[in-house]
């Protein structure tokens, strides 16, 4: 196995960094000011392709040793960059910078009809933008989200997929949207989406809303919503092209280009004509060679995975009309190689294909009324194919064993019509209609007529004063397969306490629909007796959220912001597995349990010159079910998480350094055990805590090329220990896989646009 020597690579890298040469002459004084004439401190003034300087706190600078005429680039945080040509000798120049609204005020779309300033939105939204994704050199969503507070992943290495948990709630309570459209996965629409089946290169940003968004997005948006916003062609005529190649070790396993290691390749482009048409296309290959781990033979602990992701889009924007069509295609093969055997080798392949068509239409009928329709059709299929290779004859054939060949198909259709009706300056109404239908067929799914879900919703935003905004909402749902909760309300409020302090409080009801699998999945073989329950009802929740945002907009040397959030969720009718009372041998599903989560988070972000750093802390509590029967047990079990990030532009070598860290504390729990007399008693268990850290270095070479190097999983984590006896069938056992050891990566991105 080839092992990357990071020392050697960084040497060549630093050689590349010094491939710029300077010319000397001249000297200039200047001052950088904003539009109101206030000095802009610490602006960066740089000679095109040459050296630069930083303005002082008064905005003043001196730049020397260059030749006239000179092109100066001036950048400052929170301002749009400008380029100025100084052709003659000038003793003193004034540079005026314009505030960059988009940078100061991040924009969010989730939960709103259209993009809105994050500061103005009544929802507390966490934003992960493409710059952050780029800094992490991520190959999949998990590598971006794994140091976020309140999110943890569990690996299902039997199937080669991963599941996500958010704020103490399982992934099936998290609705994953692509541009507002729900995704379909192995469990049907929106339930437990394998978040790694999404092309990371296509992501403009990820918006995460904690707390129920069921009024806006319906079922399953109970713990929260992850809305993935994809890249769109720019607003003006022109094109953009980008290509990315990244090579990565998987632990200490690597071979160039293919085989062992992780190989990422992406090509994408957009073009917009002057006539309102736009075209886009993208293709990504992810080749994950797997990780042998404890195995020495043919088997892998982390299964090899090949992903091909393609996207094509077509848009037409003219006047009041916007039309956008996009097609996303996923083709994923996961290979599970059987053990060495003298007679025959048995290898299984999981082949997933997903076609997702999306059509968005928007009409801005007047200043008062805008309407949008989003439709999507998703065709998801997952095939299990088992091959036998006879070791004596080398013949390869399909296995005839029961369940060796299986298939599963889901079709999902969504139609979502929303409107924005501005009744006055201070009051608007957002009505909506939401239709979701899904059907599933598979070898283990008992016959069903699919699920049709029809809903209407209405929300309105009222500004009580220039400081207080409230947004009530209601949703009424009809569902063909289960009894939907009657009317779901929500109430969000934002109160601007001062220029730098915003308070948000929210109450919402949420619900999670039983999935097709929970309703109709029957699985009987030697070691499984599981039956779906078609009489299941939806899980419902009451949720309270609050957040306090502090951010100093003042232009000072230090920019500081902080967010404090708290939440409390009470889930009723939680669907869980239990023993069938009629037949104790069968496991089925019930609306039995009560569940609660509660917790809080504190995030700080600080910027000082070329430094940017963040520090976060969270405490998340999960309800201990056994406390209902035994009052001596704690009711809530808390886990601590700490994360930190650091960005630093290393002077002289023009290289950006990014460091990400997260500590996930131990996860306590209780399970029923038996004492020596065979009596059932509760027993304390826990899942070990762990540290995760990634480091990356980035440098722009010229205007189009970017080189990146880094290390993932600095703590060399592979698995964590669980003291539980019972566990899920596929992730169980005392060792829970978390990573495949310290890995190194190197990547190049080329970007061209006009």
């Amino acid at each position: 196995m080839f092992r990357i020597n990071p020392n050697k690579i960084s040497l060549t890298y630093f050689l590349l960094l010094y491939l710029t040469v300077d010319v000397f002459a001249g000297k200039i004084h200047g001052k950088v000011e904003d539009q109101e004439g206030n000095p802009v401190p610490f602006a960066i003034i740089q000679e095109e392709g040459g050296t630069g300087t930083v303005a002082d706190i008064q905005g003043q600078f001196v730049l020397g040793d260059f030749e006239y005429p000179v092109q100066l680039k001036v950048k400052a945080l929170g301002y749009l960059p400008v380029s100025i040509r100084v052709s003659d000798k000038a003793e003193f120049i004034h540079i005026i910078l314009q505030e960059d609204i988009s940078q100061l005020d991040e924009v969010v779309v989730t939960g709103n009809f259209e993009a809105q300033s994050a500061r103005q939105s009544v929802y507390q939204v966490r934003i992960i933008d493409k710059e952050l994704i780029q800094k992490r050199a991520a190959g999949n969503m998990q590598e971006v989200l794994n140091t976020e507070l309140g999110i943890r992943f569990s690996q299902d290495n039997a199937l080669g997929s991963s599941n996500l948990e958010m704020l103490g709630m399982a992934g099936q309570n998290v609705k994953v949207l692509i541009d507002g459209v729900p995704m379909v996965g192995r469990q049907g629409v929106s339930n437990e989406i394998n978040i790694n089946q999404i092309d990371i290169n296509q992501i403009e940003k990820i918006e995460i809303i904690e707390g129920p968004m069921s009024v806006m997005y319906g079922a399953d948006a109970l713990a929260g919503v992850i809305n993935i916003i994809t890249k769109k062609p720019g607003g003006t005529k022109g094109y953009g092209l980008s290509a990315r190649i990244q090579e990565e070790t998987v632990g200490n396993e690597y071979s160039p280009v293919s085989g062992a290691g992780n190989h990422i390749r992406n090509l994408q482009g957009q073009y917009r004509t002057g006539g309102g048409w736009s075209f886009g296309g993208a293709f990504t290959q992810n080749r994950f060679g797997g990780w042998k781990g404890r195995f020495t033979g043919r088997q892998f602990e982390w299964l090899p995975r090949h992903q091909d992701l393609a996207n094509a889009s077509l848009g037409f924007h003219k006047g009041i009309l916007e039309l956008d069509y996009a097609l996303d295609l996923l083709d994923e093969r996961i290979f599970s190689f059987g053990p060495e055997n003298r007679i025959e080798h048995i290898d299984t392949e999981f082949h997933t294909t997903r076609w997702m068509h999306r059509l968005n239409a928007r009409v801005d009928a007047s200043d008062r009324f805008k309407a949008a329709v989003q439709t999507s059709f998703t065709d998801y299929s997952r095939e299990t194919v088992t091959w036998i290779t006879n070791q004596r004859t080398s013949e390869k054939s399909l296995s005839n064993a029961p369940n060796a060949q299986a298939s599963l198909q889901y079709q999902g259709f969504t139609l979502r019509a929303t409107g924005l009706w501005s009744i006055s300056e201070t009051f608007n109404l957002q009505p909506g209609l939401d239709i979701n239908t899904e059907s599933g067929v598979g070898d283990r799914i008992s016959s069903n007529e699919g699920i049709q879900d029809y809903a209407v919703f209405l929300s309105g935003e009222l500004s009580l004063s220039d400081k207080v905004k409230i947004r009530p909402g209601l949703r009424r749902t009809y569902n063909s397969a289960y009894e939907a909760p009657p009317v779901i309300p929500s109430l969000n409020m934002k109160w601007k306490l001062s220029e730098s302090l915003d308070l948000r409080v929210a109450y919402a009801q949420g619900f999670r629909a039983p999935s097709i699998r929970e309703l109709y999945f029957d699985f009987f073989d030697a070691s499984h007796s599981i039956r779906g329950n078609p009489d299941l009802q939806a899980e419902t929740s009451h949720s309270f959220n609050g957040s306090l945002n502090f951010s100093r907009k003042k232009k000072s040397e230090v920019i500081y912001s902080a967010v404090l959030t708290g939440f409390y969720n009470q889930v009723s009718n939680q669907i869980s597995y239990g023993i069938d009372p009629v037949d104790p041998r069968i496991t089925t599903l019930f609306n039995l349990e009560e569940f609660r989560t509660a917790g809080g988070m504190l995030n700080h972000q600080v910027r000082y010159r070329d430094f940017s750093a963040g520090l976060g802390l969270s405490r998340i509590g999960r309800y201990n079910r056994l406390s209902a029967d035994d009052f001596n047990l704690p009711e809530m079990l808390f886990t601590t998480e700490i994360n930190a990030n650091l960005d630093y532009k290393v002077p002289y070598i023009d290289t950006y350094l990014s460091f990400f860290y997260k500590y996930t504390g131990r996860l306590p729990g209780f399970e029923m055990g038996a004492n020596e007399q065979g009596e059932a008693i509760p027993r304390q268990i826990e899942l070990e805590g762990f540290h995760w850290a990634d480091l990356s270095l980035r440098r722009d070479i010229g205007n189009h090329l970017q080189v990146q190097l880094g290390v993932r999983n600095l703590f060399d984590l592979t698995s964590i220990q669980s003291t539980a006896n019972t566990g899920s069938a596929h992730g169980g056992g005392p060792q829970r896989p978390m990573g495949y050891g310290r890995s190194y990566f190197a990547g190049i991105t080329y970007q061209l646009s006009k």
Binding site: P339, E340, I346, S399, G678, H730
Partner: protein, 353 residues
């Protein structure tokens, strides 16, 4: 397979030669068939639902497949009186306090059913109390316990006929006692007062006499000196601290019992000590053979698999089996599957001495 065929042809040739030889000498035509020297065998376990118990005779290269669900009780033919329940379907028996079938109340039975007492799975921490000892039921204890010689003192047992990899059948209630050298068994449907009485005579050509509630006496295992081991699904046990007695009864689909009651002995040899290929006559004396624990081969020939790996043959070990005629074979398992299908394992063996 090729090896196997050649071998068969060889054996046939030997037999024919033997016949000719004996005929020409004009002696009594008793034919002493020489033991098979090398063989590859695919066990006809019946496929993925592993419906069969397969009794293997190494020296004659014969396997006998019998469906696991064709019998309910097995009566030991040795000097002691012991009755086994059908562990190959995961059957369980619960001893009640009543002596008469009519005294067994249906509420009592329903309660037992609802509590899952007679469910053989990982949730039942007491299952080991209601199954036969998996290692050596005759010596270490059976679910039905001591067979009393008095009809009036014998207790009624509730019999769950086993549904592990077998079709579920309604429960029965049974009573077993002895009368002289005979076993007497009385059985009835769980909700019925009409019972049937059957006498069972020991047949010492066999280890056990097998009995089915529907078919009466049935043939299951070959004569006791005509088989060396059986591949079968069956009740096994594993140490588990939370379970009663620290032992959990559970059902395992790939057990290999050597014929301990027929005098067959078995030993485990690790490849690291001496490889299968190098193992010869000279190594036999150094081995400790076992003749009282039928789980010595048991499930040890394969790994159980885990969250991320299927079960696999353990290639680090093989077995040495000494049959009743002092033939010693080395034997190793090659595969759990045939054509990818479980329940059709294969093995190879060769005569050491």
């Amino acid at each position: 397979m090729k090896k196997n065929n050649t071998f068969r042809q060889g054996a046939m040739a030997l037999i024919v030669a033997g016949l000719i030889a004996s005929c020409t000498e004009n002696d009594a035509p008793t034919v002493e068939v020489p033991p098979v020297e090398d063989a590859f065998m695919e066990i006809q376990g019946g496929g993925a639902s592993f419906p069969n118990s397969v009794f293997v005779n190494l020296s004659s290269e014969i396997q006998n497949s019998v469906r696991r669900d064709t019998w309910d009780l097995a009566f030991y033919t040795g000097s002691e009186f012991k009755v086994l329940i059908n562990g190959t379907t995961g059957a369980m028996a619960y001893g009640t306090e009543v002596e008469d079938f009519q005294d067994l109340e249906i509420e009592y039975v329903e309660k037992l059913k609802a509590e899952g007492t007679l469910v053989l799975d990982f949730n039942n921490m007491n299952s080991i109390l209601y199954v036969d000892d998996p290692k050596n039921p005759v010596a270490n204890g059976t679910a039905l316990g001591t067979v009393l010689s008095s009809e009036s003192e014998a207790k009624v047992f509730i019999y769950e006929r086993g549904n592990s990899g077998a079709e579920e059948k309604p429960w029965k209630k049974i009573k077993v006692f002895r009368s002289g050298d005979l076993y007497i068994v009385q059985h009835a449907d769980i909700d019925s007062e009409d019972y049937t009485t059957v006498e069972i005579t020991k047949d010492t050509d066999f280890n056990f006499v097998y009995f089915s509630f529907e078919s009466g006496k049935v043939e299951v295992e070959p004569k006791k000196h005509e088989w060396d081991f059986v591949w079968t699904a069956g009740t096994s046990s594993t140490p588990f601290p939370q379970a009663v007695n620290g032992t959990l009864g559970y059902f395992f689909q790939d057990l290999v019992y050597h014929n301990i009651y027929g005098g067959v002995q078995a030993a485990v040899v690790m490849e690291s000590e001496i490889s299968y290929d190098e193992f010869s006559d000279a190594n036999v004396n150094g081995l400790t053979f076992n003749s009282d624990d039928r789980l010595i081969i048991g499930s040890s020939w394969r790994s159980g698999g885990g969250p991320n790996s299927g079960p696999a043959i353990r290639e680090d070990r093989y077995y040495v089996v000494r049959d009743k005629n002092e033939n010693v074979y080395k034997l190793r398992f090659l595969s759990l599957t045939s054509g990818g299908e479980r329940g059709r394992p294969s093995l190879e063996y060769s005569l050491v001495k």
